[in-house]
C-alpha cells in the first residue's frame, strides 16, 4: 500500500514535472526573443564616443549579429551542456554571478518568510480563535495596514525612522545580522498580513467543519482542537499560501534589495536588465522559473504527505 501510494505520487509528480518543463521552455523562449527586441547591449556597452563600426564590432564579438534563430539554437545547445553563457557586462559566467548572489537573496527571503509565517500564522490563528473579541479587534487594523503598505514605502519609512533619525540600524548593504533586519521586515510586512488573513480564513472555515464538532463532542478543549485537529487541516491551505508567498517574496525582493542595496539576485536582475546583459537575464529568468516550479513541486509533495486523500484520488487541492 505504501509502495502503491509512492508510485501514485511519483506518477502524479511526473506529470507535473513534464508540464513544468514545458512551462520552463516557454518562459525561456519568450524571454529570449523579447529581449532581442528590446535593445542592443552593444550600444550600452560601447563608450559614449564609439563609432558605428566600434559598436558593430562589439556586437559581432558578442555574437549578436547572427540571425536570431541561430542565436536561439546556440543558446539552447549551450543550455543542454549546462552552459548559461557569459555576462556581457561583468565578463563572468552567468552561473557564477548568480551563485554569488543566491545566498543573499535566500537569506533575505528566508528571514522574511520565517518572520511573516510566524507572525502571519500566529496572528491569523489568534484572530480566528478570538473572533469578535479584543485580540481580533487589535490585530485586524494591523493586518489591514500591513496589506496596504507598498514595500517601497515601508522601506523608505523604516530607513527614515531607524537609520536616519535614530541611527539604530544600517540602511544598506550586507554587514552582518543587523543589516538584515530592516530589509527582512520590509519584505515580510505584506506577506505577514496576507498570511494572517489567509490563516484566519482557513481556521474559520475549518472551525465550521463537522469534524471539529465531532472533536468537541468528544470533550476536546481549544488546545487540543488547535494542536490535534486544526493544525494539520489548516496546514494545507497555509502551505498553499506559503508557497505563493515564497514566489512573492523572491519577486518582492527586487524592490527591497534595491532600496536596501542588498547584494542579492533582485539587484542583479535590475542591473542585468538595465544593461541588457542577455545571458545573465536569461539565466536569472531560468532560475526564477525553476524556483517557481520547484516551490510548486515541493508544495505538491507536501500536499501528498499531509493529506492522505491526495495520493489516492490522484489530484491535489487547487487547479
Amino acid at each position: 500500500m505504501r509502495a502503491g501510494a509512492a508510485a501514485a505520487v511519483c506518477r502524479y509528480l511526473g506529470i507535473r514535472l513534464g508540464q513544468a518543463l514545458i512551462a520552463l521552455f516557454g518562459v525561456t523562449t519568450a524571454v529570449f526573443f523579447a529581449l532581442r527586441l528590446s535593445g542592443d547591449p552593444a550600444q550600452l556597452l560601447a563608450p559614449q564616443g564609439a563609432s558605428q563600426a566600434d559598436i558593430a564590432a562589439l556586437r559581432h564579438q558578442l555574437g549578436l549579429d547572427a540571425p536570431v534563430w541561430r542565436q536561439y539554437l546556440d543558446y539552447l545547445g549551450n543550455l543542454l551542456h549546462g552552459d548559461l553563457g557569459y555576462s556581457y557586462v561583468q565578463h563572468e559566467p552567468a552561473l557564477t554571478l548568480i551563485t554569488q548572489r543566491i545566498p543573499y537573496t535566500v537569506n533575505l527571503a528566508l528571514a522574511a518568510l520565517v518572520l511573516s509565517a510566524v507572525l502571519g500564522v500566529g496572528a491569523g490563528m489568534v484572530m480566528a480563535l478570538n473572533r469578535g473579541r479584543w485580540p481580533e479587534r487589535v490585530l485586524t487594523p494591523l493586518v489591514l495596514v500591513g496589506q496596504a503598505m507598498p514595500a517601497f514605502w515601508t522601506g523608505i519609512l523604516l530607513i527614515l525612522v531607524f537609520s536616519v533619525t535614530f541611527n539604530l540600524l544600517p540602511s544598506t548593504g550586507f554587514n552582518g545580522f543587523d543589516s538584515l533586519i530592516l530589509p527582512a521586515v520590509t519584505l515580510a510586512s505584506l506577506s505577514a498580513a496576507t498570511i494572517a488573513r489567509m490563516t484566519r480564513g482557513a481556521v474559520l472555515e475549518q472551525l465550521d467543519r463537522d469534524y471539529i464538532r465531532t472533536a468537541r463532542s468528544k470533550g476536546a478543549g481549544t488546545a487540543r482542537l488547535v494542536t490535534r485537529h486544526l493544525a494539520r487541516n489548516i496546514s494545507i491551505p497555509i502551505l498553499t499560501v506559503l508557497a505563493l508567498e515564497v514566489a512573492n517574496l523572491l519577486g518582492g525582493s527586487v524592490v527591497t534589495e534595491l532600496i536596501f542595496a542588498w547584494p542579492g539576485i533582485g539587484q542583479l536582475t535590475v542591473q542585468s536588465v538595465d544593461g541588457r546583459d542577455f545571458p545573465l537575464i536569461q539565466a536569472i529568468v531560468l532560475l526564477a522559473a525553476v524556483v517557481y516550479i520547484a516551490v510548486n513541486f515541493v508544495t505538491d509533495i507536501a500536499y501528498a504527505v499531509l493529506d492522505p486523500r491526495v495520493t489516492t484520488t490522484g489530484k491535489a487541492a487547487g487547479p
Binding site: 500500500m1 502503491g4 508510485a7 501514485a8 506518477r11 489516492t312 490522484g314
Partner: protein, 327 residues
Amino acid sequence: MTTTPLVEARGLTKRYPVRTRTGKRILTAVDAVDIAVAAGQIVAVVGESGCGKSTTGRLLLALERPSEGTVTLQGRDLNRLSAAELRRSRRDIQPIFQDPYDSLNGRMRIRQILSEPARVHGIDPAKARSVHDLLDLVNLSPDYAERYPHELSGGQRQRVAIARAIALDPKFVVCDEAVSALDVSVQAQVVNLLRRLQRELGLAYLFISHDLALVRYLAHETAVMYLGKIVEQGPTETLFTDPRHPYTQLLLAAVPRPHLGSRLRRAEAAVAMGDLPSPLDRPAGCVFSTRCPLADDRCRTEEPALRPVGNGRTAACHYAETADVAA
C-alpha cells in the same frame, strides 16, 4: 410488448479510467445493460449507491457517451447523431435531478428558467407552452414566474425543475433520485405530480431511486442493478411479490417499514449481506456471490446470464427458481 420501445439501450457499458493507489484501473460503472422503456411507461432502476443506476440514467440522457452499446430513441442511435441533431433530439429526453437546490440557476427568474428550453430551440414563444401553463401544470401559482429559486422551498423548486423538463413536451423523462432530497410530506406531493403528468402527458419515465416503496408505488417495470449489472428485471408487482434473485430478496427485506414487526427480519437480512465490494474489485462469477447466502462454487466461477424466470421476469441467478433467502 412487440412494438418498438420509445427508448432502448442495448449492451450499454460505461468504463472510467480511475487512478488508484495501485495504478490506473478501469472502473466498469455500467456493464452490458439492456433496458427498454415504452411510451407512457415508468421503468424503475433500483440498487445501492454505486451500482451504476445514475450512470445508466446519464447514458440514456446522452450526457455521456457509452463505452459500448447503443441508446436509441425511436430507433435512432443518439450517439451517432451529429452534435446539432443530438441537440434537437434532446427535447424528447429530459432529466430531473436529485438536488433541487442545485438544478436551478439561482441567478435566473423562474420565468427565464422555464422559457429557456424553448429559446434554446428557437421555438416561437407563441407555439411553446407558456410559462403560465407550465406553472399551472405543476401546481404552482403564476406569480412564481417572477421569483428566484432561492425564494422557493425545496418542493417548489423540484416542481419548477419538473416544469422545465416538460416544457418541450418530451416523450421520456429520466428522474434521477428526483424526490429523495425532499421531506416526506413534500415527497408525496411531488410523486403525485409526477404520476399525474405521466398520465396526462403520456410521458415515459426512467425512475432511478433507492426508495423501493416509491418504486413499487410508481413503476410499471423495475430493474434491479448490482455492481453495474442488471441482476433482475420484470413487472414491478411480480418483482416485489415474488423476487427471484437473492439480491432483490435481500434488498426488499432491508427496506425499513413504518410499522412494527419487521425489525428482526430486516436486520438479519442486511447483516447477512455484509459490505458492498468495491466496484473496482468486481467478484468473478456472479457479481453478488461475495454477499449471497446461497453462493456456491458455481456462483463464484460461472457468471449467470440474465434469463427469463417466469412471469415476464428475467434474473441473473443460477438458482433463481429456488432462491429464497429473506423469508
